[in-house]
Symmetry: C2
Subunit: 211 residues, 2 copies
DNA sequence: CGTCTAATTGATCGTGGTCAAAACATGTGG
DNA sequence: CCACATGTTTTGACCACGATCAATTAGACG
């Protein structure tokens, strides 16, 4: 009996794939599914009426997606690198919570963590200089990479300069200039424009905290 | 039996008061309590090493506070106007969730709503102009006032220019200049510097959405 | 190689920040 | 009620960080 229930819910859980630049879901669309990224990377963004874009977050393997309980998604999700994800119908979520009560607590915990991250990002967007923003961004990438065990002394940057700019509230030119500035100050070492060797992590940390 | 359990938990729920400018809790402090604001208004903020401040949100009667499940608060909470709040020990929260299972779902719903608001604020901080920021801020105040039934055609602004500036990622001078600009364009009408008559709500809405 | 897009670099501009002073508000004691 | 002190908001003059516009260089792919 527990088995059939379990199997029934497992059936709902399908794997899906997305090519780079393809949209996983759109802002204001009916939030029919929740996702769990298993490989690749994703950007989340919101748009203003005239096309200005703010990227509100990046997702990597292990991250949840679409945990909006509202009727519609509050942002657009788009694949950066080829993405595979587990998809689960949102309307079945209640049933899933009933079967795995601890899941709801984990969900709340994740939402709270995301909220704290969002507040850090507000501090970054509202009060940090371009240099501090870029330093914070590189640190964020390094820490999340480390957190999921992809350590290698090298920071992998899957997203374009344009994505970085729209994440930090800057332009691509300022991002580029700031990276070359950090390179000239020997804080970082650009291997190629998708791989950075972070020479002075502690210098980045000081920059990020505004010290 | 249900009665005694209920009473036991009710005992934990005490009312507390805070004077203006007094701190309800500090960032990085042990998160021992959660709060529910019953009157007054609260600001939440984070600081950088050199004192730069970002206000991440304002709270009004009915709003929850401290729903961090982590060990420590991720921001400082400070009273703007005299505040009264219900306080509940965080370590008893699990017990409370067990007794009122629907509470945990509401909690998750609130966290998700706050997350959506945080993303809107990121868009504001990263991509809106000073004028759009101030317009969005006034709209936010008007809508939340309306939502809790304090409508009066007048927007009440409990916080100082300095608080507004640190919420919008601007300086007090720019906030002030922008308000006088909106006044000269007859979009708003300043009654005194804590009360604004919003003449052109639709003009504010267009400004806020970047149209 | 040649084409196309992304990233860098350069020159100039403008929004919003900084510094300073004036206007205004609030409160206290004579 | 006024004189004075303190703090907040507004206004003004000037400045700088990051944006814009434009040209060049570097990668990616057929």
């Amino acid at each position: 009996m527990q088995g059939t229930e379990h199997d029934h819910l497992r059936q709902m859980l399908t794997h899906v794939q997305f090519d780079p630049h393809s949209t996983i879901f759109h802002e204001a669309e009916d939030a029919d599914y929740v996702f769990n990224v298993t490989s690749g990377s994703v950007k989340l963004y919101k748009l203003l009426g005239d096309g200005r874009r703010q990227i509100t977050g990046f997702l990597f393997p292990g991250d949840f997606l679409g945990l909006a309980l509202n009727a519609t998604y509050s942002y657009t999700a788009e694949a950066i690198e080829p993405v595979t994800a587990c998809r689960f119908p949102r309307e079945k979520l209640e049933k899933l919570f009933d079967e795995y009560p601890r899941l709801e607590k984990r969900m709340l915990g994740m939402a709270v963590d995301e909220l704290a991250a969002a507040q850090d990002q507000m501090l970054l967007l509202g009060r940090k200089t371009a240099k501090e923003k870029v330093a914070s961004f590189l640190l964020m990438l390094a820490r999340r990479q480390e957190h999921r065990g992809e350590e290698s002394g090298m920071i992998h940057i899957p997203m374009s300069r344009s994505d970085i700019a729209d994440y930090l509230g800057l332009t691509i030119e300022t991002v580029s200039r700031t990276l070359t500035q950090l390179r000239k100050e020997a804080t970082i070492s650009l291997k190629d424009n998708r791989h950075i060797e972070a020479v002075g992590i502690d210098m980045l940390e000081d920059l990020a905290e505004g010290l």
